[in-house]
Symmetry: C5
Subunit: 269 residues, 5 copies
């Protein structure tokens, strides 16, 4: 089961709490009802969603994009150290028992990308071709991720835009019929609610999701680049110690030190 | 006949419905007439279109750009899996009957780009030259697409700009003659209508079209890059299984799995 | 004589007509005089021009930049098909009579860039050096064009900035002396005129010019890249049919078809 | 002990002094209390922090990012000249006593990156591999730094966004209940305080920190690139004078002259 | 002595004249005093300067950046034609008397970069190393220039930001104490003065300086790239006529024609 991502969930909920607090306590005479207006919800959220619907390749993809929201709630299962250890283990097998012995080892690999790479090596594929196939795969993964973050970026731009359109509609209507000066305030208040909705949609939901997904993508691509380097080194028959040195370059100084220590411990044990 | 693109059409229509809803029901005393003003339409849409007309290479190209609107209404006929199968079939022919046998096969190819590539191979063109010719073609396709999306991006920028110019004109006129305080509201209302028009032009029409066309371009270029890789592999006489492995890197994991299964099924059948 | 560029001229004039229309008919009691204010003209246009004057390398270059305005009024004399035909003709001469025979042919070439390339080939310059010289020339042409479009981009940014500065000056003065409430409207009206001027300067003049010049630059560079490819193919002694195939990659499908047909027709004729 | 960074500390404090001055003396009847509002603090700072919390990989990293604030208070201990001297000394050792003699010298090197490079050379690692390992390390350092500056950039964008959301909440509440015209001013005043907070968060704290960290990163990467060049030159057995000439290219003219003079002085002494 | 840069000085002064004109004559009852407010000056200019102080590496560099203002007042002493002539002369010497004869010629070269390049050639440095050393130097020059323009860009962004902060402070204070409606106008007027200051700082000073320095940097880098090309051609022993042809690619058509004519004249003379 996927572990929940505390940072994202906490941030999402606290934001909502703060806004409700601001609405209720910012001014003693306020109440949440001021911020509920059905027509405003329709024009802002509806308008923004319709526009990203226009941009979507098809309806199915549109809902797939929307569902990507859940991705930020789960902790990413990426462990650079574990991957490095796995690659070093593979390089030891290859050195001792030959490249063909990797076929059996490949069965216990969870990561599809690493598995595919190992099988390409076992098949005796040309190193240049291995790199080309894995890099094409990497580029296509990045393209697919960029499509999803592009969806949230578009929604983040459309939210405030439709919020402003809603406010313009409210203002134009209000200004046309100003017979009763007492209703001007409440009418402007309702007109501004769409701007509020649009701003919340962008800043509370879309921008954080997009940024988080971009950061998750960067981590994933980094581990996959580490795999490509490791696989090509295994195929070239490089020394496991050199491979370890090479792959440790991907770690931060603190994690590098921890990794080396642990490795040392394992060597002793 | 081209299949209609439900996502684009639905989004476009729903947006308009939502805006009309916002105009009519946002405030019980409103009516659509508040949002119709001939001078405002002229200054906003006219101004924005005139400015992109200045930017256009010539009148004919300007209308061609405007007509590209219809592109987003049709579903793109791109099928990566079909293309991969076609290339594998071609590679089987080339392996069994030689590169010259591809000439006949080329006749049944619909895609002009793939056909041109196959004919270049049949002509015995140098692989480096084949890649160079196909990549020049790819770059020129991208340049032409970028011109069209650039047109919609310019219009998306000009819409709000001319909306603001229209509002400025209205405000300057209104402020100069404020004898009657009762007309201030309606006059400001009319002044704001141009801002509303400009914002709708950008957010309802131009930005979604531009984003959709960019995404369609990305899909098309991706399939064409897949073709280039496949064609060069055929010319190099690579093994059809290796070519399949290589081209499958362009697919997402889900489609990759579906493709492999289907292939397996075909093999059995 | 240069042919006038209808799209640019029409767009420029129509824009002005629309603005005058908006000023005069947007509100029955308006008149153009509201939009003429000498101090506003000085501060907006003067301020913006002075700032791009600060940026200019020297006074002479500043006026050269301003004069580049006339470039958008003339239709660009670029004809890819004609250039391709010219290069194929040159390659036929080179094939039949040798590279030295190109010297005579060079005399009838109008385009300086193509001429220089042909003469470099005649001189027996090393192919690598030919490419390097022509690409340096291409880069320097792009740099010079980028300077000019940069000038219009700077002016497009300075227009609204000085318009806002003018409006701020007007507002600050007005707010300090508000004894007579009846003058507030007209004074604000005058203050807003500078924002109107700045917005017109950017959206009516500078942005369209800059975009048009960028598009003209792209066409010119594309034809020159086509020339470089063609020249290097001639020097490499490639087959005229292969050269044609290569250069046709620069054309759009429609123009490619038209070109092939025409060529066929010529062959018959 | 780290030396304090006078420029950063002075700037940070002076900014606060100026704002307090502006608040207190900008208008004789003002007082700091106008600018303290608990709900406003919560919504602006809380909202902005919650949103960057959503973006953070996990809680621990979030606090690590926040703590990076202290980095700008310390002067960076980077000394290009010292590094160049160190590398020349190493190249002299390598020339006279062989590459293996560098192992002992490596012990006295403080910088981990330089030390790792020297040890790779001592191990007889292939030059291409040395460059690849060091450049991977360099890229990963840059990626980690970019994550931190990205955090401050996100906070700089979220500050004004949540300031505006707070102001919208205040305005919507105020406009709904405008029975008492006398309270409109103070209520709008409170509503604007969040915009003030957001603007201060971005312009006083986040943007300067982000810019400073980017500049520190650039200096660090530059010295590390200098080390890579130097290490590869040592491994290639280049002449120490040539190495000095090469590495001096990284210095500004003034520092280059000072360095040469000093070196000359040392040679004499 | 450096020649004064008329374009920059004229532009800077005219801008100030125009603003004073706008302040004094924009409205008959205005006077310059409306635009002087000590607290506003402190908060806008002080705040912006403090923030770029936070970003500066140290106090000394901060003042060095500020002093770079004077750079735009001096005409740049760059003469591509003169440099080309100098390089052709050097190539003639190298051809006739050998590379070593360049040592004496190097003494009469003013430009440090060209001199260093010639001396590297005289020392018999490997061509690849000469290119690498000169390009490192070129990159470091660009980095140093980018730091300075980055300083002015940061100040250009901080000016309007602190102008807005000052205006917010003024508005918040004013709105809190609105007992006397007659003081609202003048108080808002003072509040807006900071926005005016910030906008002037950015648009009158910082953006023009930054743009001018970027254009000066581009010219300088272009001449230095011309030098690198020339030096490597000299070292490769290329024909002076070919070198001239190569370097003339850096000139615009008009200057190329003028240069060739002059050269012809010299040959005759």
């Amino acid at each position: 089961m996927a572990v929940l991502d505390l940072a994202s969930i906490l941030g999402l909920i606290l934001c909502a709490v703060l806004v409700v607090y601001g609405i209720v306590f910012g001014n003693p005479i306020d109440y949440l009802g001021n911020f509920y207006d059905f027509a405003s919800i329709l024009i802002t959220f509806g308008g923004a969603l319709c526009c990203v619907l226009i941009m979507a390749p098809d309806l199915k993809t549109f809902f797939k994009y929307l569902k990507s929201f859940t991705l930020i709630l789960k902790v990413q299962k990426i462990n650079e150290e574990e991957t490095i250890r796995q690659i070093i283990a593979l390089s030891n097998i290859a050195r001792k028992e030959g490249l063909l012995a990797l076929e059996e080892a490949a069965n216990s690999i969870d990561d599809d990308f690493l598995k595919k790479g190992v099988l390409l090596i076992v098949d005796g594929t040309d190193p240049e071709l291995v790199r080309s196939i894995l890099e094409t795969e990497l580029n296509c993964i990045e393209d697919r991720h960029a499509e999803i973050t592009g969806f949230w970026d578009s929604l983040a731009a459309m939210g405030p835009a439709w919020g402003m359109i809603g406010t313009l509609i409210g203002l134009i209507n209000m200004l046309r019929q100003m017979q009763n000066p007492e209703t001007i305030g409440p009418q402007m208040s309702v007109a501004l609610v769409t701007t509020f909705y649009g701003s919340m949609l962008a800043n509370w939901i879309c921008i954080p999701i997009s940024t988080k997904l971009k950061s998750k993508n960067a981590s994933e691509i980094m581990v996959k680049e580490l795999m490509v380097e490791g696989l090509l080194s295994i195929q070239a028959g490089e020394n496991p110690r050199v491979i370890e040195e090479k792959l440790k370059s991907f770690l931060s100084p603190a994690r590098k030190a921890a990794f080396s220590q642990e490795e040392g411990g394992e060597n002793i044990g």
